[in-house]
Structure formats: C-alpha cells, structure tokens
Amino acid sequence: MSTKPKHPELSERFNADEPRVDWHDATLWWIRQKRDKAAHTLYEDWESLRNTASAIKDNVLGNLADYLESFERQATTNGAIVHWAADAAEHNQIVLSLLQQAGAKRMVKSKSMLTEECHLNEYLTENGIEVVDTDLGERIVQLADEPPSHIVMPCIHWKKEEIGELFHQHLGTPKGNADPQLLTEAARQHLRDKFLSRRVALTGVNFAVAETGEFVVCTNEGNADMGVHLADVHIACMGIEKIIPRREHLGVFLRLLARSATGQPITTYSSHFKSPRKGAQLHIVLVDNGRSQQLGREAFRNSLKCIRCGACMNTCPVYRRSGGHSYHNAVAGPIGAILAPNLDMSKNADLPFASTLCGSCSNVCPVKINIHEQLYEWRQELTRQGKVDFGKKMGLKMMSTVLSSPMVYRSMGKMGRWTMRVMPGMVSNSFNPWFKQREMPAAPKESFRDWYLKNRS
C-alpha cells in the first residue's frame, strides 16, 4: 500500500480552517442552485434530455470500436492527423514528438482534464518544454504549482486575496489589490502575449463526432480559440469515450453541459473543428489509458458516459467539505471516485469510501450515471481484491456480526447506552472518529423497541 496521505487525512487538513470550509461549501452549493434554476427553465424537456443523452452514450459504449474507426476515417479525410495512445506515457511521448517536429520549445494549452490525468505538464517540463495553461483558473493553480481542485473551476478553493497576492508576485499587480476585474485584466494582458507568440496550441475535446470527424471544444473565456487560431500546430487530446455518433447529437449534449456545470444556457464558445486552417496542422491524439478496461467492467462501464460537467462535485456533501485536493486524483468528487480505482486500485482504494452514498450525484448527473451505486459496488470490489485496510475491514466485519443478530444488536445497544450515560469519556474522546467535529448525542435510557413493547397497547 502506498504511504501517500489518503482522503480522510487530506480532508482533515482541509477542515483545519473551519470558516474556509463553510465558504467552500456555500460557494459550491450556490453553483448547484444555479444548475437547478437552469434545469428548471427547461423543465418540460430536462428529464427527457437526460434520458436521451444517457441512451446515446449507451449506444456509443456498445459500438465504440466502429465509431472510433469512423471518426478516424472522417478526420483523416478532413485533413487531420490521428494518433493513438494506449496509456499516459504514450500520449505524453506523442505530444512531445509533435512539439519536436514543429521545432517548438513553448506551447499554450487550454483546459484538458485528460492531460492532467496523464501528467503531461510535468513530463514536458522535464523535457525542456515550457507549457502555459491559458484558462484563468488553470493559470492560477499553475502559477501556484498546484493541480486543479475542480474539473470546471480549477481554483474554486482560492480566495481572491490570495490570487491578488499570487498575481502581485508573478504578474506585478498592485500589492493588496484583490479586485477580480483588475486581476482578470492582468491575466488577459499576460496571456495575450503568450497567445501571440506560441506556435503550438493544445486543447482538450468535449465531443468528437464519428459521422463527420469534427470535434467540439467548449470554453467561456475563448482561450482555446485564441491559442489554436494563432498557432501553426493544433494538438487535440481526447479520451476514446468522447465519441458521439452524429452531429445532431451535439444538440442534446450542448443543452445539458453548461446548464449542469455552471447554470449557463450554453458556454460562450462552442467551437467545431473539422479541418485544419490553411497552412496549419491539426493532430488528434486518441487516448485509451484504462478506458477500454473500464468498458469491460460491467458494473462500472457507465462511468465512461461522463461529459465532465462537475455537477456531481458541486452537489456532493463530502466534496464540498473536503475540497478537490483531498481526492488526490485529476478528477475529484464522486465521478473521480469511480474512475480512479480503475486506473490504480491500491492507490485509490480510499476514494469510493469518501461518500455518504446519499445519491445526490446520480440525481444531478446529465447522462444519468448511477454514481452512488457504483461507489457502493467499488467498495465491495476493493474489499474482495484485498485493497481495503485492516481496520476498516475488521470494523465492517464487526458491524455485520452485530447487525445480523437481533440478540447481539440489543445487548450491544444496551451496553452502548449505558457506557454513554455513565462513562461518556469512553466515547467522547479523540480515538472515536465519530467524535471529530461533533458532539456525541445524549443516550436515551431505553431503546425505541423497549419503549414500543411497553406502549403499543
């Protein structure tokens, strides 16, 4: 087992600053409410859109190989060059070799969770390439030398005063100024210079259309387009599950994506890239990195339907109070917790337990992934595979003994109530994880069962 800190420990660190946790929680809940409002404007169509999106993705998962071949054929006809990468290492090597071919030492990059998953930035930096993330939130975390904590809002855990200080150090903004307008303007000027001087631009892909070989990139800032249309080489990196069958299906997904993510009716830019600009190159890198394996796990394959809107994070009571970094994975939150164990069971065995299984994630998911059920399935699978630590395993075994025998349950209940009344120090101490951040409830003299037996007549 890896000795890197796990979700409980990382959450504890995040929870050291209570007002900050409250602020983080409230901010994300506000975004969840914006999502609700946007969904309600389409109340007549919303559920049917979710069902349709989910059914389209079902069809994709059942025919993925054919769709990938069709996409490759069409994209090639359109003038793009298609590359295939089995894993993160191959993906990173392909990107590096494209940069070397172009004779470029510097690159601008717009948001791509896939490249986070592959740790592309670290790899390129080690190989002497300077990468500038151009999404404002991503630039902020990049300057701070941190990974994003949210797939849609990478620096949701940062306060504006801290960003003001960061920009003062790196971009020379006035000390003590935390005005979002001023800070955004400073980033605009700083990054405009990068857009105008870089010859290679990398983007992610939101949707790739098998029928036409085109792909769509959604941004609000316009950073993907500023990078690509000013560069000689466009590299687009996508997981193989981003395929959708036909162009008309974009209508369904674009109605759902921004409404679910931020409550906007659509992102400012939905850019459809079909062929390269005259005189420029377009490279598309198709990446597997565990996806074909997840496709074969029947209980978990639906996780590949994800369109990366982040709604499950915004609604999750655990994510909101533990922060994105507590998931130690490129994709945090409930969806990250069902994707991560596929990549590395030992390293990510803690994540499916970072949930209350309340089901809110499944209820907001625009493609109806049964996220909370998969979290529960993963717990069982990880236990079967021996990836769950001894303490948790024994605890659950004991629970199972107590809960499966009414007699044991009753006598344990009695003992528990007595202990809590007579020797509260036995449970209200730092050895009891239930005592952290909360008071133990007052124990009643009798159980409900005893009370009921006495009073039922």
Partner: protein, 196 residues
C-alpha cells in the same frame, strides 16, 4: 499489432453486446413562438447587447453614435465605408490590434442566444476572438428556437471551422465573480436586421 489495432481489439472485446439503439430526437418540440423576444432577453442576461435595426444605414448610424476608437474590420460589403475588409490571406497575428470586428451570423438560437458563424462568414478564424469588441449582424428571421433545430439546419453543412458564440468572453474563476472580457471579445453587440 499496432497500438491502434490493440486499442480497437480491446474495445471490441470489452464493449457490451446487447442491442443499444440510438434514441429518437424528435421528442423535443419547439416550446416558444416568441423566438425574437426570447433571443433578445437571453442575450441581455448573458452580457450581450441586442440592437434592432431596420437596415445597414441604421447600423452605420448606431456606430456613429457609439464610436469605437481604433481599427475596425468587417466582412460585410454594405459596411465598407466604416471598416476595412478582413484580409483573407494575411497572417492572423496582424489582427492583434483590431478594436471592433463586424461579421455576419448565419442564424441564432433563441434558448441560449448562441449565434452560428463559420469561417465562410469572416475569412479568418481568429477574428471573433482576437478583436476587443465583436458585433454580429443577424437577419431577424434567421432564428431557431432550440439546439435541436439548430443542428437540423447544420445537417450536411460543410465547414472547416464553425462556432456558436453566445455573448462576450467571460470568466468567473476568481471567487465566482463574473468578469466580461477574459481572452476574447470584451463586448458583443448583435444587430438584429429587419431588411437584409
């Protein structure tokens, strides 16, 4: 076996075999007949500026009243007395100092006020992004209700690059405070044109 063939073989071996037909998309009816009103309302909500005009002369008059100091480019022949044409084969970096770009939109979508434009509308892909301010001229009758109708219109259409643009460039990455003008256009004016 190449990496490509290995990946495809693995996908083929692991993908589910049960019948999973594509759903019908005709179950999303048009919910409004007031597409112009809805388009204008949504555009204002997302930070854009709708301006109803009768003809190109009214656009010229509007720009006279609301002048943009600096370089103005346009792909529209009727506005050539106000703007230089968009240089077709120039290096896109030369557009760095454009203050205002005025281009034609193909059609707009009422539910989200997104406007479809392709490079055929404005020659250089970077134009609507690199300009400080963007104006799109959209025929008033070129509006559809929702994204399903939008893609019906795009069925079989050929383009190298096309984009739905909905309002000015924006970000809320700093503490969820909305700021207009992230990397693309700081403002977006839409001239809804009565007589083309």
């Amino acid at each position: 076996m190449s990496v490509r063939d290995q990946i495809l073989a693995k996908v083929r071996a692991n993908q589910p075999v049960d019948e999973r037909p594509l759903p019908d998309l005709t179950s999303f009816p048009v919910r409004t007949s007031e597409v112009l009103d809805q388009f204008m309302t949504v555009l204002s909500t997302i930070g854009g500026k709708p301006v109803r005009v009768a003809d190109y002369a009214e656009i010229a008059a509007y720009l006279h009243e609301h002048p943009y100091p600096g370089r103005i480019i346009s792909s529209i022949p009727a506005l050539q007395h106000l703007a230089e044409p968009i240089p077709e084969n120039a290096d896109p970096h030369e557009l760095e100092n454009v203050e205002l770009a005025i281009i034609t939109g193909t059609f707009g979508v009422a539910e989200n006020s997104a406007i479809w434009v392709t490079e055929a509308n404005y020659q250089q892909r970077v134009v609507p992004f690199i300009c400080q301010h963007l104006a799109i001229v959209l025929p008033m009758d070129a509006l559809v209700a929702n994204m399903h109708q939008a893609y019906e219109r795009l069925q079989g259409q050929e383009y190298g690059f096309g984009v739905f643009i909905a309002g000015p460039s924006k970000t809320a990455d700093i503490e969820q405070s909305l700021v207009l003008g992230a990397h693309g256009a700081r403002t977006m004016t839409v001239f809804l044109l009565e007589h083309v």
